[in-house]
Subunit: 309 residues, 3 copies
């Protein structure tokens, strides 16, 4: 992909080379994301962060990336949007935003919203999550975390645990991981299995994957344990929910019983699915993911403007 | 008007010389508003944008102007205000804001709100729309657009179409245009005619204007077609609404049938009153108005602080 | 207290030396807070202002302080937070925020919220008000105002008027003033007297205080009259409310009748408890408090980062 001037809309647009380019650039951004240096790569650039759906963690990650590279930021959040749209199309909003900003980050509850905005806007648009569709920068930061923590992605076994059916994060991650030589283990209740289209895509690429309901089994083999939350509203039966919810809880006791050293990841917020006593384990990388997210977003900004630190 | 340190509260405070001063300064701001240059004219200045009533398009326009001239911005939007006012007067809010900011931009649902804030605040206050009262910077950007696109304002025929009764925009625009040698055509349903006080003001100034319900007639003569939206809530009878709404819709087919080349403007958001197929016509200036709005707001900021790029 | 890297969580953590250090630094900040100079002390630093509970006056005060010292700001306000927390602990939020910002300012409706955030965040956290618990920076700006206006704090008689039972402000102020050689007069209806624990603390420190319902009496002796508002919801009986409310209203007539020159302070917003005709009296310091608040917050930022202008 030619990054300069591009839109970042979905995981599918990234081939292996693209992913590696982002990870390489992200590594260069670590001095800035880790607060050792304050940059000026984005000086004279203005970002509009358009969060139709509030998502504070993601918004602040992008805004931090912009600020720490010397750029400027304007934000619009949630209900304030009623006044922007008043029924206008996202195409028109894109035409308006291109007169203001140099780059737009959009979060929206509708699938395809980022693409519609990008169609109108003659400036780079970054999808920060649209509906249950895509959240490509989350997957890039997940890959960057694996790379940074273990030193490689090829050859690893990655287990994804929890709600694999509705989890936007694990869909995009599977798609991105399919460019690497990995084995996947999908751990979920039967009701929340990884959707068929993603499994089919993996088969077409000859990528090995296993499905199981047993997290303990997965912990034996996985180099990376990617935890997600199971949400109550996915179940019609309250008892089913509680049964499953209790099955996929990571505690220090469990990790030590399995004597595993694997990387433990989570897109956050973490509620009950990882106990606080896990936090101090060396493999617990979920809070480091946050900082890696800043580095990856800095990297994307640099690439979209054709800049290098 | 002495711009330095002034408040920008309404269209009436501008005489012809004032308007020309703004347009001249706006022309100098185009390199900055069009993103060719990043300025530093507002470096060391802090703007408070106080949008009691959310109006994202206008807010971002002011904030873009400030950022791109090197200034800093703090915003307060909508419901956050309940905590600012808690029943205090706008005069008091003005006293508070002057301790924080160097310039305040206010949007409010009450007529006269900007004036009340300005009374308390010893810093320049810019009215970004108060109730159905005034929105002077919108009219200035409209004039700047006409000047920039056609090269002059004197001698033109300007048609305003749609809801002329409640449209704050067309009231301010008529007031500003009355300083020039123009002819006006007011196109609206009988229920939504230009209010009497504005017509009287035009007569007093010996400015020719025509009133009609026929948009096609106006298109024959107008150099500028200023479209606005007719809002459903203005009609008690749903059928009347639909009849009128359908009468004032601009399509490519219609423009080409009339073989006109006139400038097509709209304050946005545009919903159904201009069809998307009009967008590519050379006369379609409504998205260029957005960028001109940034230039005009930059110009006002510069003038209020006595600066020149 | 070692300020560098510290959290500012409550009034109790300040001893007399700490308070004096803040006031001394605040005095150095006046050129910046009063807009004579634009600073760069916070250049390369990013503040996250996390206002779970909107409090626009306080938020803008902190943000003004940061901007005018050359720092950068990201804000999250009110309802936007539902997306940040989604049930996660403030400890976890702290872990996330430390990856983004260099300093966090938090306002929250729960007592102890700032402390919980600080426990997770490895960056300085400043409490901008948590529940009915603490609002330490308000008290520091009150002390700075007294010092700046009268030239000293020792030896003064300070009267606090209004709702002393629920007023977070007067609790923190009493606590801070207890380090000085002052006399206190507490003026309130019997239903809204200063809470017992604070009175006990003053006795232990051998600090003289008087309690009265008579504001006029207090005006005879006080060097400083600290007004607060009596809120209707504190009373079950509407008549009681109106009776008390009308007793504690400061007018120019009243001040002149008493022939007093004392300093009149108020944490704002001021509604009916100080009449507008008081504003022009030389002793009316409540709007100057706003500017002093910026200086004090600048001072704290400087101290937390170990910087001097």
């Amino acid at each position: 992909m030619e990054f300069k001037g591009a839109d970042i809309l979905n995981a599918k647009q990234f081939n292996r080379g693209d992913i590696e380019a982002v990870l390489k650039m992200a590594a260069k951004m670590v001095p800035f994301s880790s607060k050792k240096k304050w940059g000026d790569l984005m000086k004279g650039k203005l970002m509009a962060s358009l969060f139709y759906e509030p998502s504070t963690r993601t918004r602040l990650s992008f805004e931090t990336a912009m600020h720490r590279l010397g750029g400027s930021v304007m934000s619009v959040v949630g209900a304030q949007f009623s006044s922007l749209s008043k029924g206008e199309t996202l195409f028109d909003t894109g035409k308006v935003i291109e007169s203001y900003a140099d780059v737009a980050v959009i979060r929206h509850s509708d699938d395809g919203a980022a693409e519609n905005l990008a169609r109108g806007a003659g400036i780079p648009v970054i999808n920060a999550g649209d509906g249950i569709n895509e959240h490509p920068t989350q997957s890039l930061l997940d890959l960057f975390t694996i790379q940074k923590e273990i030193g490689k992605i090829d050859g690893l076994t990655v287990a994804m645990v929890g709600d694999l059916k509705y989890g936007r994060t694990v869909h995009s991650l599977s798609s991105m991981l399919s460019h690497f030589d990995v084995e996947l283990i999908f751990v979920s209740p039967a009701e929340l299995k990884m959707p068929e289209p993603i499994c089919r895509m993996l088969k077409e690429k000859n990528l090995a994957y296993k499905e199981t309901e047993d997290m303990g089994e997965a912990m034996k083999w996985a180099d990376v344990l990617y935890m997600t939350r199971i949400q109550q509203e996915r179940f019609t039966n309250q008892k089913d929910y509680e049964k499953h919810r209790n099955k996929y809880v990571l505690s220090r006791e469990l990790v030590e019983a399995k004597n595993t050293k694997q990387l433990i990841m989570h897109p956050l917020p973490r509620i009950w699915e990882i106990k606080p006593d896990v936090d101090d384990l060396t493999g617990a990388a979920y809070f480091r993911q946050v900082s890696n997210g800043v580095a990856v977003r800095m990297a994307l900004l640099a690439l979209l403007f054709g800049k290098t630190p």
